[in-house]
Amino acid sequence: MTERVAALEMRGIDKSFAGNKVLDGVDITAHTGEVLALVGENGAGKSTLMKILSGVHYPDAGEIFIGGEKVRFSNPADALSAGVAMIYQELSLSPHLTVAENIFLGREPVRLSALGVIDDRELNRLAEELLKEYGFNINPRTRLVRLSAADRQLVEITRAIVEARKVIVMDEPTSSLTSGEVEELFRLIRDLKARGLAVIYISHRLEELDEIADRLSILRDGRAVYSGVWGELSTDQMIRHMAGRELKEIFPPRKAVIGEVRLRVDNLSLPPKFEHISFDVRAGEVVGIAGLAGAGRTELVEAIYGAHAAHSGEIQIDNQKVTQSSANQSVRRGVGLLTEDRKRTGLCLNLPMSTNITLANVGALIKGGRLQGKTEIEVTRNYIGKLNIKPPSPHKMVARLSGGNQQKSLLARWLFAGSKIFLLDEPTRGVDVAARSEIYREVNELAETGAAIVMVSSDLPELLGMADRILVMRRGHMVAEFDARKTSQEEILKYAALEEN
């Protein structure tokens, strides 16, 4: 192999936060005109590494070279001027500015340059040209708040592409895109490669990477454990590198006895989110709900839970008709909802793990008019042991836990609340492989003890591995039902995405 200058080289990067070593001597290299796939479990250090590359954090040790030249970024502006741009996982746009204003934020074309008057017409014209060139059908004059999540992501991508001259980092760029838009993005990425940019692409979706990655770097516990050409490793090998051990049984077997109907949903509607939804879930059963983003799955489980009122239809719990008008009533009836967005609707981030776990059943801790702190800690320790929550410290602020341990804490909340019907909405989103398998084990145990479980997931292998039956939603309608043992990803996708193809 001839020695050529890499577009980006990060060498021996160390970073600690409050004595915690997050990155330990990490080396990665990205070449011009290539896509480097960066994978690893949550907490492996990918985001920190990319924040160092984009100048948000400063490394404790190590060097960064752009095009062979050593650089030092002390803030994001430095990184940008060196030609490194980043598409963030959490959107970083200004919601009240227009699409064009966002794309050119900080680099607006000006008239009368001494006065800095923004040339709006030119701004919109440039933005319109760019969006057209990339094939995004978005009006540059629209304010961001009026765009869908997917369109916002496309704007974010456009902005980063405008800024990038040498390296572009994409951190889970497809999380809110439809399959059509993902194709569009891939076309763009190939375009960027042809223009000589190095692309660093972070994703959990291995099948996605298969389509565009040229090279692969795997991080685990803050170290780069593998670097090589994409395709050298099989999926199993990759997972082994990420998890650091064999994971033969990601989906443990379940010996649940299917019993009586516990939850029945009859003709439930909340137009335009979902309409005429009917299904039932039996004791011991796990029913999966598949569908694309925006199919109405989250709205459906939230309506069953009572977080939002449904417009019409009926819900029965243990053959009793209920009107779930509030979360409060649902919790009393033994229904628990593990929400899709744990930071927004699940966790009290700056409160301790113990408070978060006991929140839905604080009453059980009150004895003699006083909240029993000791009991609370005992209860928490019990769930820490049961679900293997790390670190095992009940007083730890949940914000400091990894995604998987946060999710386990929320699951523990419903266990402590004594729930019998579990609505799990994307239960393993942003959860690493090891924690996933522990969550699955707990779900199985719940089913075995007679709980009824609804599992909404965009991860089809997960649904196939966990569910007894899989329901498919498309644009607010239930379009298919499969026995999980007799279906395939392709079949489910066909129904979930029919109109798009």
């Binding site: 936060f17 409050a18 915690n20 985001s47 920190t48 954090h57 839970y305 977080a307 509030s326 979360a327 409060n328 649902s330 919790v331 009393r332 909802l337 929400t339 927004r344 609707t345 699940g346 966790l347 009290c348 981030l349 700056n350 409160l351 408070t355 929140l359 839905a360 604080v362 009453g363 009150i366 008019g369 006083r370 909240l371 702190g373 602020m397 914000a399 400091r400 909340r413 609340a417």
Partner: protein
């Protein structure tokens, strides 16, 4: 700075002030320090009692993620109505209950408006501040209510063991109660949960609106009680009483480590915050510092306290991911 210094910074500042003021008196003014005399300390307690009582309620409201700018106006309105009820012949004790009831009613209205209108509490209570003040001025026709029964001064003037002012005991009693509520009851636990993430609290099955209303009503009731003490001090019902108190009350909570964005704050912190402001004002007078300069100092202290807090919080956040 070591961790314990950071944690107890408000308390350490308070102790430092209490040490510096007498030194200042001795060296700059060349006189025997008056600051630490029993009489002066009792005066501080008396002066800060009203603010501290209200700040107990404000701690709850602010921990739950709310704020109430109308508390000063409630002091005025409750004072006028309570004083009128006493001049109309109601016994003093029943009159005191009227003060509290008027305050609680105002707080209840605030809470209901915040939850029903779904408008930020800052705006709702900014409006309420004008409404309650206007109401107090209107029913008293802008004049002080005079001719209160002789026993009306009891609440403010009574001393226990001939030394400790009664308001000090009221403060201690309510501090213990609110501390218990915040640390050991559902009401308090939900307060922190809602302030930390109100949506998460709702999804966990907490009836957030009901609880919010309760917090505002408690704050209103305590403001009414503060109005009773104010009225007792002047033995008149002043429609302008409590003007500007809302800012001192909020400042006490904030200096004591309470957060404007909710989820943080303790009774002990708030008391220290209130004492820091009281001691600064008292010490400033003893050291013959212009009251105008005192205002500047107190303003700077508020900004410094919040800056320090914010800085701490950010450090904790960046040490996460």
């Amino acid at each position: 700075m070591p961790d314990w210094v950071k944690r107890f910074l408000p308390f350490i500042s308070l102790i430092a002030l209490c040490a510096l003021i007498p030194l200042g008196e001795y060296f700059f003014l060349g006189q025997d320090p008056k600051f630490l005399t029993a009489g002066n300390l009792a005066a501080i307690a008396r002066q800060t009692a009203v603010i501290t009582i209200m700040a107990m309620g404000m701690t709850m409201v602010m921990v739950s993620g709310g704020i109430d700018l109308s508390v000063g106006s409630i002091v005025g309105l409750a004072g006028v109505v309570g004083a009128m009820s006493m001049t109309a012949g109601l016994p003093v004790l029943a009159g005191i209950l009227i003060f509290i009831a008027v305050g609680a009613a105002c707080g209840l209205l605030n809470g209901m408006a915040v939850t029903a209108l779904k408008i930020p509490p800052f705006i709702v209570t900014l409006g309420a501040m004008g409404i309650y003040r206007g109401l107090g001025l209107y029913i008293s026709d802008g004049n002080a209510v005079v001719g209160l029964p002789s026993g009306a001064g009891y609440l403010a003037e009574k001393t226990v063991f001939g030394l400790f002012p009664l308001p000090l005991f009221i403060v201690i009693a309510f501090a213990l109660i609110v501390h218990f509520v915040l640390s050991s009851t559902k009401l308090g636990r939900y307060c922190y949960a809602m302030g930390s993430n109100i949506e998460a609290a709702r999804y966990a099955g907490i009836r957030v609106s009901t609880f919010q209303i309760v917090y505002y009503a408690i704050l209103g009731g305590l403001s009414g009680l503060a109005g009773a003490i104010e009225t007792s001090r002047t033995v008149t019902g002043q429609p302008n009483a409590g003007e500007g108190y809302e800012l001192n009350v909020i400042a006490a909570v904030v200096i004591g480590g309470g957060s404007l964005s909710g989820g943080q704050g303790t009774v002990v912190g708030t008391i220290i915050g209130s004492l820091i402001m009281g001691v600064l004002a008292n010490g400033g007078n003893l050291l013959q510092i212009s009251p105008f300069i005192q205002k500047i100092v107190i303003g700077a202290v508020i900004v410094l306290a919040v800056t320090f807090d914010e800085f701490q919080r950010r450090r904790m956040e960046t040490s996460e991911s």
